[in-house]
Amino acid sequence: MSMVMIGLEIHAQITALNSKLFCSCRGNYRDLRPNSNICEICCGLPGSLPIINQKAIEYSTMMSIALGCKVPDKIMFYRKNYFYPDLPKNFQITQYNVYGISSIGIEGKYELDEVKQIRISRIQLEEDPGRIAYSEGGMNVRNTALIDYNRAGVALIEIVTEPDFTGPKEVRHFLNKLSLTLEHLDVCDTLLEGSVRCDVNVSMNGGNKVEIKNINSFKEVEKAINYEITRQSNVYGRNLKIEHETRHWDDKKKITFKARSKEEEHDYRYFPEPDIPVIVLGSNFVANLKQRMPELPNERFERFRLKYQLSDHTSNILINDKKLADFFESTLKLHFSPVEIANILVTEFKSLIEDDTEGRDYLKNLKVKPEHIAELVKLIEGNKISRTTAKDILVKIFESGELPTEVVNSSNSFKITDEKTIMDAVHSVFDNEKSAVEDAKKNREAINFLLGKVMKFTNGRADAKIAMRLINSKLNE
């Protein structure tokens, strides 16, 4: 087995910001008419100057803390100079860690799990460029490209890791945890198109590093790495050398391809941005921020386990879906029954969602709200309905949005606790399932089969405890 070393360079937009990094244009540029979300600053008009967004510094600091980075007392910005039509000033204001005063996060260590640690080289704050729209078929078909600067100047957090990953699975694990962290800190809505991007570098057997750019979603990263490992293995298999090069990811063909060689030869001529003086964060900045910072995913996990007595498994499912976890806690505020509520949410509730939705902000449009679940659980706990009925009700209210009591009242699905009615059902089952009854007499395990039949006979409404007692006594007759 050959040795693989993978490093990541992740760009995440701070989608939580109302404004761009250096001006007051909207941070949410999506779905706007092209070039309608621009001003003299983000368009780089002559004489305009950047004004730093303080909130962006806070968000990037939170990410630095979450990824185990040191946050220095002073930070500064640099200019990265290169010509590109989507870059209004033909330089990008970013951070740089070579000459002393550094970026917002440095020397990070992130615990991927009990054994694996990923080193974070740096976290920096920078501006997003605009976007170039090519006509259908690209430049080969029509010799035009259009530029939309609505995105230009949107705040980005760049996270650069050391090449500490040894395979695509670790990378996936890391990116999952990173997404959760971004979501929990309310920094970035990773589901928004283009809100997270990833560059990857892969080297094998201590050979040259190959950089893969343009991976526009976390989902594609694993595929790109797999492709690249196979490609490099084949090259080594033929006793050839891997060149140090930049490749691009084609997410339609699912392959990496070699970039034009010019792109590698950039000299960005970094130098300190004269228009933004050194920013002194001060010694209390990080401490204060830690106090006000939202809970991190692992902290929440611990709380769910300890405070709510949830199992690791249940806690995990909730934490891995921040919106579901939030839904869970909203329901708790209405009715404090953590285990029962969590169980419904991670099983029936979740499977219903997964049946008819694909990810995106699904809870927002859902007809079922925390009120519904709280009421449903109250009905179960008040012994008003059986668990089986509860499942049916859940399916109904998912569609109709009715409250559980309304469904129960209208469909007459209250639990049957009347012993005579249940006894009738037991008799009927014993008459029809003679061999099962014989089995049950010898083997207690088979009682559950009879119970199932009784429940079915009563459309799931029979009180299971009473039914069980009656079955037992009848078996002992």
Binding site: P46, S48, L49, N81, F83, K89, Y270, F271
Partner: protein
């Protein structure tokens, strides 16, 4: 009575308030003056006659209705054409911005408008402020009103000449390495480069951001104080701006310790040197002792300045690619690989030279050798000056080491041209305020005295200048035009 077109700014405001004349009268008079002298001087790139007349009418209406008017009401201000004016073409005297009309006003322009100033037009400069003569303007060079065969200095040559020639009451210039003070000296007017951060740079089209400031060019110290107070202050749109105390006209002069910078005396023309010694006599007359001082790190100033200024310029000017604004240019074909260099051919020679130098000193492998070293020398110089200001209130010397020279004399040799900036770049590198004050003439050519003070020490500059202005009688209006 003084002729209308010779009035100082505060006299204009007084005259209007007292009803001696209307703002429209005044604007009309100045326009006549421009009509007469502009063909000889060429101060303006763009004149906004209609705008000026309608502003004047608004002020007259206010006066008639006894409404409050601003501190600069009716005063005609010329603006260096690298300061953004909403709706008025702002070219930086470059072909590359020939058709650029800003969508916003620079902060200083907003302040001037609020104070009732009438903006008459945009004044000539060396392209993007790079030069000391206006010969690098893409338009005609401006001529020195005191001797039309001589350069007016630069880069704010249009501002210096317009104020000297009476084409506007006061003007705004910008100073990256002497661009306000050099033309002030050559045109015998008063020009101040404020402390870095006193005046907002928002809207000033950057040449070298870490060095430059906008500042006033006037014919009297009193005017300069009014103007400076209006444009000073912390601006939320400029991270490098800072709050400052307003400057006042001194009631009486406290004793100031003056250091005469030895190196600047020895490096100057004899006539210039004589004037500085004359000034030191005058300082003694007003009770301020003078002695010679030495700046050890002075020889680092020019190399450090040109390295840093060019580095910043190379990046600042990268945005001029004519994709979003600029000039009429039919390139025929937009080829990815050649587009930028084709368009950027249209910069002038001096601008291209500095972009090349700047890109070179920032490129990998040379950053440490040039850029970083230049920054270190800059802080060294600044520290030395701050140390000197513990002992001296003012450091003085000639603003320019030479008298105004003839057109074409230095344009063929960039190094010769750079050398004339030696006295002025010190203040930009150190971020300190510096003023150029007319001190005399030699063969009809003006000589300026430069006074420098510690950061935010503008009050001391004004205190001394005000007293010197009173006792040194300098003719204000050139006869040659």
């Amino acid at each position: 009575m003084t002729r209308l077109d010779e009035l100082l700014a505060y006299e204009v405001v007084e005259g209007l308030t007292e009803g001696q004349f209307t703002a429209e009268d005044y604007v009309t008079t100045i326009l006549k003056r421009i009509e007469k002298v502009e063909p000889k001087v060429h101060s303006f790139i763009t004149l906004d006659t209609d705008g000026a007349l309608s502003s004047a009418k608004i002020i007259d209406k206010k006066l008639k209705e006894k409404e409050a008017i601003g501190q600069l009401a009716g005063v005609i201000v010329g603006i260096k054409d690298n300061i953004s004016t909403q709706g008025i073409r702002t070219t930086c005297a470059s072909k590359i911005l020939e058709n650029y009309v800003p969508t916003y006003d620079a902060t200083v322009i907003k302040s001037l408008k609020e104070s009732g100033a009438i903006l008459l037009g945009k004044l000539n400069l060396d392209e993007f402020g790079m030069g000391s003569t206006t010969e690098y303007s893409r338009y005609q060079p401006t001529r020195n009103p005191w001797n039309l065969d001589c350069v007016p200095g630069g880069s704010s040559g249009g501002s210096g000449a317009a104020v000297a020639a009476g084409e506007c009451t006061i003007a705004l210039g910008s100073d990256t390495g002497g661009s306000i003070r050099c033309p002030s000296s050559f045109c015998s007017v008063i020009g101040l480069k404020p402390t870095y951060g006193r005046v907002s740079r928002y809207g000033l089209i950057s040449y070298a951001n870490s060095l430059e400031q906008i500042g006033p060019i006037c014919r009297s110290v009193r005017d300069l104080v009014i103007m400076l107070n209006i444009i000073s202050g912390k601006d939320t749109f400029d991270n490098t701006s800072m709050p400052s105390n307003p400057i006042s006209i001194p009631k009486r002069l406290n004793k100031l310790n003056v250091g005469i910078i030895k190196e600047l005396i020895t490096g100057s023309d004899q006539e210039v040197t004589k004037s500085v010694y004359f000034a030191s006599e005058k300082f003694k007359e007003i009770g301020c002792p003078c002695e010679e001082v030495s700046i050890k790190n002075l020889h680092y100033a020019l190399p450090s300045y040109y390295t840093l200024a060019s580095a910043e310029a190379s990046s600042n000017l990268a945005r001029y690619d004519n994709l979003r604004y600029g000039f009429d240019y039919s390139i025929g074909e937009y080829k990815w690989d050649t587009y930028f260099s084709n368009v950027r051919e249209n910069f002038g020679e001096e601008v291209k030279r500095r972009i090349l130098i700047g890109s070179y000193v920032l490129s990998s492998g040379y950053y440490g050798k040039y850029y970083l070293k230049a920054r270190r020398l800059r802080s060294l110089l600044r520290l030395e000056l701050l140390e000197l200001f513990k002992k001296y209130d003012l450091l003085i010397g000639p603003t320019m080491p030479i008298l105004p020279f003839k057109f074409g004399e230095k344009i063929d040799d960039p190094i010769k041209m750079y050398l004339v900036d030696i006295n002025t770049v010190i203040a930009n590198l150190a971020g300190i305020p510096a003023i150029s004050l007319p001190i005399g003439f030699s063969n009809g050519l003006p000589i300026g005295l430069q006074l420098m003070a510690a950061p935010f020490g503008e009050q001391k500059l004004i205190d001394a200048s005000y007293e010197l202005e009173k006792i040194i009688n300098i003719p204000r209006r050139p006869n040659s035009i």
